[in-house]
């Protein structure tokens, strides 16, 4: 293991330790994000030069190019960043809280519940207006159900994961049944939503996800302190002064809240929540000394992954019809696998 350098900072009653590599990682992620944002604003059916884009951003007018940027590309970009960050954060929270790298918010049953809720809405109402509320309601209800079923004098990770898995499988079976019962056209539309897309985001979506991140984000990052101690085992964490069941419950609430808002603006983008944390940990110093903020890293990777997927989605010739959700997996999965193979060759773990 290479020598790690840790920098201590003190400012009045506040203090902490930072690994400089974490800062480097943060800067790197930011750079990647800004570059990709530039590409997102640049690409599309309406050609605009970088100079034009900059002018529009600073001094918007009422012409068509401005509308394209301000009402199509920019909201889409911001929703992508926000939802990606929220997904990444939620996934990191669940995985660290459960001490299980295979966990994801799906473990709460949210994903399957949202899919079920969405399809119920589609079957019961003919309009697409109720799809989203149905999905959120379904997701929150199944998360609550999982919690109810798994709670027995506390929340043991094993029981939570198994309960969430069982309920998810049940709900996905219902989804399969509904998909088979619908007429083909409606099924095709439902399929689109199920895969996760945010093709027509509006500024209201941006506001929603920003509020969610602004309120739940800091609360989640605050829990990073507890999560690092929870990694030592329930007994030691309790001995160090944490009320472990309460902490678990609160983190679960935060993860579900973040996921619900992210799904609300971007649909159920698969894989971002699951892969952001492992990728971030392996790329940054959070793996070693544990002095970085792995949660922030996961949020950053989630945002980058989503924006990248959206970029690919809109750049490919046939991509116009394929939703972003397809690409979050197609980029995220190889990234995760690449990290795994790197470890095989390095002999780490």
């Amino acid at each position: 293991m290479t020598r790690t350098i840790v920098v201590t900072w003190r400012c009045g009653p506040f203090s902490g330790r930072i690994d400089p590599r974490t800062l480097v990682f943060a800067v790197l992620m930011l750079a990647i994000l800004i570059t990709m944002s530039g590409f997102v604003l640049y690409s599309g059916n309406y050609p605009l030069s970088i100079a034009e884009i900059s002018t529009i951003l600073v001094q918007p007018k009422d012409d068509t190019p401005d509308i394209v940027i301000w009402y199509h590309r920019l909201p889409r970009l911001l929703v992508g960043i926000g939802a990606g960050a929220a997904f990444g954060l939620a996934g990191a929270l669940m995985q660290d809280m459960l001490r299980n790298p295979l966990a994801s918010p799906d473990v709460t049953g949210f994903g399957a519940g949202a899919a079920c809720g969405a399809l119920c809405s589609i079957m019961l109402t003919a309009s697409s207006f109720w799809v989203l509320p149905g999905a959120i309601a379904g997701g929150v209800l199944s998360a609550a159900l999982v919690l109810l079923l798994a709670w027995k004098n506390g929340l043991s990770p094993a029981r939570l994961v198994l309960t969430g898995l069982a309920l998810s499988l049940f709900l996905m079976a219902l989804v399969d049944i509904m998909m088979a019962r619908l007429d083909l056209l409606t099924a095709a539309d439902a399929m689109k939503w199920l895969v996760g897309t945010f093709s027509s985001p509006e500024w209201s979506d941006v506001v929603l996800i920003s509020c969610a991140l602004a309120s739940l984000g800091p609360a989640a990052l605050w829990q990073g302190f507890a999560l690092k101690r929870l990694a030592l085992g329930d007994d030691i964490a309790a001995g160090l002064g944490f009320n472990v069941p309460t902490v678990r419950l609160w983190i679960l609430f935060l993860a579900v809240g973040l996921t619900a808002c992210a799904v609300g603006v971007a649909g159920p983008l698969p894989f971002v929540a699951f892969a952001a944390n492992p990728i971030a940990r392996r790329l940054s110093a959070g793996f070693g000394a544990g002095n970085g903020s792995p949660l922030l890293g996961a949020a950053a990777v989630g945002a980058c992954l989503t924006v990248m997927a959206d970029l690919v989605c809109r750049s490919l010739p046939i991509g116009a019809d394929l939703p972003t959700g397809v690409f979050t997996t197609m980029i995220g999965a190889p990234l995760l696998l690449w990290q795994l193979t790197r470890e095989i060759r390095k002999g780490v773990i």
Binding site: T8, P13, G239
Partner: protein, 261 residues
């Protein structure tokens, strides 16, 4: 402020498991500033008792008092500043360096915004020195031997700066010299820093040598308590362990020494 003679005590502790009654209206009082050792046969409830005292387990009945106040009513962080626990099996990430493990011990004195105050740094350095783990403090746990690991964990609970230490079978997996080394360290902490120590040990002779006060458990109750001389007797060994033995004074240290027949 009046100090209670017993910083940690239990009254009427009862705990039932599927296998049966583990603790049966158990009562005990831990004397301040002494090394107390809990002995007893397997499944007599030793670890369970320690975990109840440490508020890791909630008994079905009865209560545990920390400085006279019920431990379950106090904030966990406040309790952690007064009582440090070393549990038996800990699944700790193997890549963690010793220094970072010990630093975690400062948690009851920290908050998310204040993670490394001057007091924290000093306490960790002191703990590393006391436990004798300075030379490998930057190595990950995976590279340490069993004895070194155990000392690292001791350093962690030392960093916690709590006046009461609870240790659940701290000598498991250690060879004899390391067992003695660890227990002498514990005794030094007690003599020099005045820490109250409660340990579960399975080796009666080690218990007799290092304890100031012994609690002998049987059937979920405290069968006998007192100094090693009072408790480690042939009669008690027979009552508790159904062990026929000879107890002689240890020629080197004077404490009772059990020799099974």
């Amino acid at each position: 402020m009046a100090t209670f003679p017993f910083p940690l005590s239990a009254k009427g502790l009862t705990l039932t498991r599927p296998v049966g009654l583990v603790l049966d209206k158990l009562a005990l009082a831990v004397p301040r500033g002494k090394v107390s050792v809990v002995i007893g046969p397997n499944a007599s409830g030793k670890s369970t008792l320690l975990r109840c005292l440490a508020r890791l387990l909630r008994p079905d009945e009865g209560e545990v008092l920390l400085e006279g106040a019920p431990v379950n009513l106090q904030k966990s962080k406040h309790v952690a500043r007064q009582m440090a626990i070393l549990p038996q099996n800990s699944t700790v990430p193997e890549y963690l360096r010793v220094f970072d493990l010990v630093a975690r011990g400062r948690t009851p004195w920290q908050s998310p915004l204040s993670q490394w105050s001057v007091a924290d740094a000093l306490a960790v350095d002191r703990a590393l020195a006391l436990a004798g783990v300075e030379e490998y403090s930057l190595r990950p746990l995976s590279e340490l031997s069993g004895g070194q690991r155990q000392r690292a964990f001791i350093a962690m609970i030392l960093a916690q700066d709590a006046p009461i230490l609870l240790l659940d079978e701290p000598t498991t997996f250690l060879d004899l010299p390391h067992q003695i080394e660890l227990l002498e360290l514990v005794r030094k902490l007690n003599r020099e820093s005045g820490k109250t120590v409660v340990m579960v040990l399975h080796d009666i002779n080690l218990a007799a040598r290092f304890a100031d006060h012994v609690f002998a458990l049987r059937g979920g109750k405290v069968h006998r308590e007192g100094t090693p001389g009072d408790v480690v007797t042939e009669a008690t060994m027979r009552e508790i362990f159904a062990l026929d033995c000879l107890v002689i004074p240890d020629p080197l240290h004077g404490c009772p020494h059990v020799i099974p027949r």
